[in-house]
């Protein structure tokens, strides 16, 4: 048993990055990964801007600062695997297979051309054709669903895996307990990725938990548990890759805790009275994008050039979205039933 729940701890100290060679990530591929992180960062910065300009309504949850977890995780999986995403899901969605930023931005802006025809919005973006089963407005809402995806994979006898993402806050929902137990007793090919970004809205991880690492809970179900530096792309990549290998080999689920930090407020209406500017600054010093650029040995100029490329791609997405039609009110009742 103990061997099934041994935990490799990787420090969040920005200096100690997992080397790409150890991770088995070829340098040329690495550049694309950096680009993906930049795409996420610029998508969300643009989303923020559009929101403050009043060009989108509602609310949104930005994952700025958490890009390494999203890109590291998706990169370790295969086209055909499944994703169950969270309310803070722009990053995972953009990092996932075949995602088109145009359709994402169109959905974000509530347009008919969006992934969900403007019916879902930021918290519900899905691309079912690519087995991206959607973001979820309900904390841990996708976690029980992962049981069914895992069962379905087993029954269809494919070698797919299902990755379900949730937050530190979500980890305390009862449904997570039921899901982890069922995945364990049935040995399901499910990867539970907990993004521990230190807060659930205003609730600090340290007050919502009486344990130092969420991955310790894996032992309660006798499954693999591991805590990794969520700001170290290669570290996340390794953890998810290993979990996927085990899952495909019929060795069941893994609980991965990616330790990271939310740079922005929880949502647009957050005054952040629950944390200090200094704390935010400290974590920003570990910017996963700069860290990865550092690993790739890029100069600031080179990084800025890439950032510029990303920004252009996102501008194109905004242009596409703005040129897209609004949903027709006459079709408002469509899509309730099949």
């Amino acid at each position: 048993m103990s061997n099934r729940s041994d935990r490799q701890i990787i420090t969040t100290n920005g200096e100690t990055n997992t080397s790409l060679k150890d991770a088995g990530i070829p340098d040329d591929a690495a550049k694309d990964l950096l680009m993906k992180m930049l795409l996420i960062r610029t998508f969300e910065e643009k989303a923020e801007e559009l929101f403050s300009l009043g060009r989108v309504h509602g609310t949104m949850h930005l994952s700025i600062g958490q890009e390494a977890t999203a890109v590291g995780a998706a990169t370790a999986l295969r086209r055909g695997d499944y994703l169950l995403n969270t309310h803070r899901g722009h990053g995972h969605c953009l990092a996932w297979f075949d995602t088109n930023p145009d359709l994402m931005m169109a959905e974000f802006m509530g347009k008919e051309t969006g992934y969900c025809r403007g019916r879902g919005g930021s918290m519900h973006i899905a691309n079912v054709d690519a087995n991206n089963l959607g973001a979820n407005g309900i904390v841990a809402g996708g976690v029980p669903i992962a049981i069914g995806v895992g069962l379905s994979i087993k029954m269809r006898k494919t070698d797919q895996v299902c990755m379900v993402v949730f937050g530190d806050g979500g980890a305390n929902e009862g449904a997570v307990h039921e899901s982890l137990n069922m995945a364990s007793i049935w040995n399901l090919p499910v990867i539970y990725l907990v993004e521990n970004n230190q807060y659930a809205m205003s609730m600090p991880f340290t007050r919502a938990f009486n344990i130092p690492e969420i991955s310790q809970r894996a032992a309660a179900y006798n499954i693999h548990g591991v805590t990794v530096d969520g700001n170290d792309l290669a570290a996340v990549y390794v953890a998810v890759r290993d979990a996927a290998e085990r899952a495909r080999a019929g060795e069941g689920p893994t609980l991965i805790e990616a330790v990271t930090y939310r740079w922005r407020g929880h949502s647009k209406s957050d005054k952040q009275a629950y944390r200090t500017r200094d704390e935010v600054k400290e974590w920003q010093a570990q910017d996963p994008i700069r860290r990865f650029a550092h690993v790739l040995g890029l100069t600031d100029a080179q990084l800025d050039a890439l950032r510029q490329q990303a920004a252009e791609r996102i501008e194109a997405a905004v242009a596409f979205a703005e040129a897209s039609p609004e949903p027709e009110v006459s079709r408002i009742t469509e899509g309730v039933y099949a």
């Binding site: 969900c116 029980p144 992962a146 049981i147 069914g148 899901s179």
Partner: protein
């Protein structure tokens, strides 16, 4: 025609559907070797194995999520919630996920799952094992709600539900499981969304659901001896509700009564009253539509109190008589 019980009809529908479509599997508590709390799945694990008849831990939210995830990825899950009361633990998954996923995803996904659950009182199991919560689900767009009253209907409706692309809440009744009736051996479907005139009559329309259909028919037969001619309509599918049959019936009889076991306040009966008011039947009404339903109390344990908490044949007969004779 061959006669079998309601529970045998459920089992036969499941067995035939599973034999015909290997995407279908069953998941729930004690549905395997135990055969289900009421025996609905008895023998199925022997026929189809533990991979397709899955016993679960006591985790209703997990069972429901398991159905949703499997349905989203090409399977046809049939979940069992051992007593309808426990569906209170599945509400987030059912209402915020299963019912809304298709709409939220712009119509680009579907969740073809059936959640079977036995409702109703009369077993002496008291307030936490006797719920009739169907109207909650009728209130949720994206869900279909089926409530069969006979062995024939339960087989045909279950087979139809298993072919439906939407999440279906399939509500059986504990006291109906042992009732017998003619059921064809072959597979057949009763389309969801078709009300059924169970007994024709001209003096009064009684719209009844689940076990109340049987009690209404019994009451109608009594009243027939008094020369009163009662028509009994069984919606069978509460959502989507086929009110055309009900409306036509009321236009003919001029009087209507709704009977259900669930508590009266904000129960399904209120929806039927409102539909009739909004329909052309309103002008034909010679008296206000009456609701005959469960008392607004939790189900008591004591056998006698339990009996009086929900409509019985006598209750229905008395109310119907009054209504026809204009004694209000």
């Amino acid at each position: 025609m061959r006669e079998i019980t309601y529970v045998e009809a459920v089992r036969e529908a499941l067995r035939q559907a599973m034999a015909a479509d290997d995407r279908i599997f069953l998941i729930g508590e004690d549905i395997g070797v135990y055969g289900g709390a009421f025996g609905a799945t008895a023998g199925l694990i022997q026929d189809f194995g533990a991979e397709r008849v899955i016993d679960t831990p006591i985790s209703e939210a997990g069972i429901t999520g398991a159905c949703i995830g499997a349905a989203l990825t090409g399977m046809r899950p049939v979940g069992e919630i051992q007593f309808m009361d426990f569906i209170t633990l599945s509400m987030e998954q059912l209402v915020l996920q299963a019912a809304k996923i298709r709409f939220m995803f712009g119509g680009k996904a579907s969740v073809p799952m059936v959640l079977r659950t036995p409702a109703g009182s009369g077993t002496g199991a008291a307030a936490q094992h006797s719920e009739s919560l169907e109207n909650w689900f009728v209130h949720i767009p994206g869900l279909k709600v089926v409530m069969p009253s006979s062995p024939y209907d339960v087989k045909g409706l279950l087979l139809a539900a298993l072919q439906d692309e939407n999440p279906v809440i399939f509500i059986e009744h504990k006291l109906l499981y042992k009732t017998k009736g003619p059921v064809p051996e072959e597979m057949y479907t009763i389309p969801l969304g078709q009300s059924n005139v169970v007994r024709p009559g001209k003096d009064l329309t009684v719209v009844a659901t689940s076990i109340m259909v049987n009690r209404a028919v019994e009451a109608a037969n009594k009243l027939a001896e008094e020369g009163l001619d009662v028509e009994v309509v069984d919606p069978r599918t509460l959502s989507p509700l086929d009110d055309s049959v009900i409306i036509e019936s009321v236009k003919k009889t001029g009087r209507a009564m709704v009977v259900h076991e669930a508590v009266k306040t904000s129960g399904f009966g209120a929806e039927v009253v409102a539909r009739l008011n909004e329909s052309e039947a309103f002008d034909y009404l010679e008296a206000p539509v009456r609701r005959v339903a469960g008392l607004d109390i939790p189900i008591p344990y004591n056998r006698n109190l339990e009996y009086h908490a929900v409509p019985q044949v006598e209750t229905i007969a008395t109310e119907a008589r009054k209504l026809i004779r204009g004694e209000y």
